[in-house]
Amino acid sequence: MKYEILIEGGFTAIPREYEGAIEMQKETKRMLFNLFEKKLPPENQNLRDTLQYHLKLIDGNEEYNACFDETNLPLPIRQFIATVSKKK
């Protein structure tokens, strides 16, 4: 599975980009894709300096895009980002 991740904003305002490919089990991929399609809670308009997480996952012909902030980033996606960021 290919991934493209852009983390921007935050107090530092220094964007971080991660791009590459990762092998994952079918069930793990499905779980991530489901999180991408899950309805998010209402946006907190008062967040200041929080990070914004833009993610794109490409699995064969399927492409999944999502954008999260600090308050609605699901833990499995946070863990996925931590995994791929360590690969760099």
């Binding site: 904003g9 809670p41 209402p42 200041r48």
Partner: protein, 338 residues
């Protein structure tokens, strides 16, 4: 005349026009409308609303224990003795210094002017490179130790984040494009003023840097931003110092941390002319007079009006209006006469 009740049924664009003319009740209605909308949307979604609680401006320090959660474990609160965690003690001390600066200098009763408790979350996440304000409390990461270190330990970071809270309650500048850049600007302004007060520096001794104490030696730069020389703090620093180089892209909420360099430079130049205390008062009163959708031109119109009023009242230097006019002209901002 615009009464409180009248304002509630007036369309936002009319409220904005009246707010630009200095109508404070219309400004308040415009600023509050976003809060009411969000609260209503939250209630409609049947989610818990964290109400603003009455407080005494007391400090509460919570340890997130490296989880991505807030209010995990209370480790120190107002009046408690120091703990063994130096980060907790530092967050306690610096948040108190910032709270007291606003109280002692401007008579502002805590962040919201109404005694809101000052809540800090430390040790958030794992190697988390950020600090943020979420609407009613602050959260700090420890940094990854490679490029960034403890965000809660830096007075300018703490002051910057708390100032986001002050801005939220005084003018509620929305967080995108020019209003967002102004929001960031005011946080950098009070971040740098309070840093100089904390370090007992005058403007010639100060470095005018933001975030210099949270970057490591491996970080490719000396700080995150420079008020004195925007765009020079590090290899990634793309802040302009003049409207000629204004960022028009979509990143960073349309450049809220980027275009803030322009008014930041104007603030620095103004301080050189009339001193940081007069500037602090003028900028604070301007923040009170601004409104949610204010742009750079609104900022200039408002700050000149405020400076004029404070000069007449004998509270700031007689040369304030000229100094600010000149400083903003230096960064490419002059009043638009309609």
């Amino acid at each position: 005349m615009c009464t409180k009740h009248y304002c509630h049924i007036v369309p936002p664009y009319i409220l904005e026009a009246l707010a630009k003319r200095g109508n404070s009740s219309c400004k308040k209605a415009l600023n509050d409308s976003q809060r009411f909308l969000e609260r209503r949307r939250t209630v409609l979604n049947n989610l818990m609303v964290r109400e603003f609680e009455d407080g005494n401006g007391d400090r509460f320090i919570y340890d997130s224990q490296n989880k991505n959660e807030q209010r995990v474990a209370l480790v120190r609160q107002e009046g408690d003795d120091p703990t063994q965690d130096e980060t907790a003690n530092k967050a306690y001390e610096t948040s108190g210094f910032v709270r007291d600066y606003f109280k002692d200098t401007f008579g502002l009763d805590s962040i919201d002017g109404n005694g809101l408790d000052v809540i800090s979350n430390i040790h958030y996440g794992q190697a988390y490179n950020n600090a943020f304000w979420d609407g009613d409390e602050m959260t700090y990461g420890d940094g990854d130790g490679e490029e960034f270190t403890n965000f809660a330990s830096a007075i300018d970071v703490v002051a910057h984040e708390l100032a986001h809270g002050v801005t939220q309650f005084l003018s509620n500048l929305e967080y995108q494009s020019q209003p967002g850049a102004l929001n960031e600007h005011f946080s950098d302004v009070f971040g740098t003023i309070i840093k100089q007060k904390y370090l007992k520096q005058n403007i010639s001794e100060a470095d005018w840097l933001i975030g210099d104490s949270i970057v490591t030696e491996a970080f490719p730069g000396v700080a995150l931003r420079s008020m004195k020389a925007p765009g020079t703090a590090n290899e990634f620093d793309s802040q302009p110092d003049n409207m000629a180089d204004y960022y028009t892209g979509m990143s960073d909420n349309q450049g809220v941390h980027i275009n803030s360099g322009i008014p930041n430079k104007a603030f620095y130049l103004s301080c050189l002319e009339i001193g940081i205390d007069d500037c602090g008062l003028i900028w604070f009163e301007t923040l009170k007079a601004l409104f949610r959708t204010a742009d750079f031109n609104d900022m200039l119109d408002t700050i000149l009006r405020v400076a004029q009023e404070l000069t007449i009242a004998g509270k700031v230097s007689d040369s304030s209006v000229d100094a600010i006019t000149h400083s903003f002209a230096e960064v490419g901002l002059t009043q638009v006469m309609v």
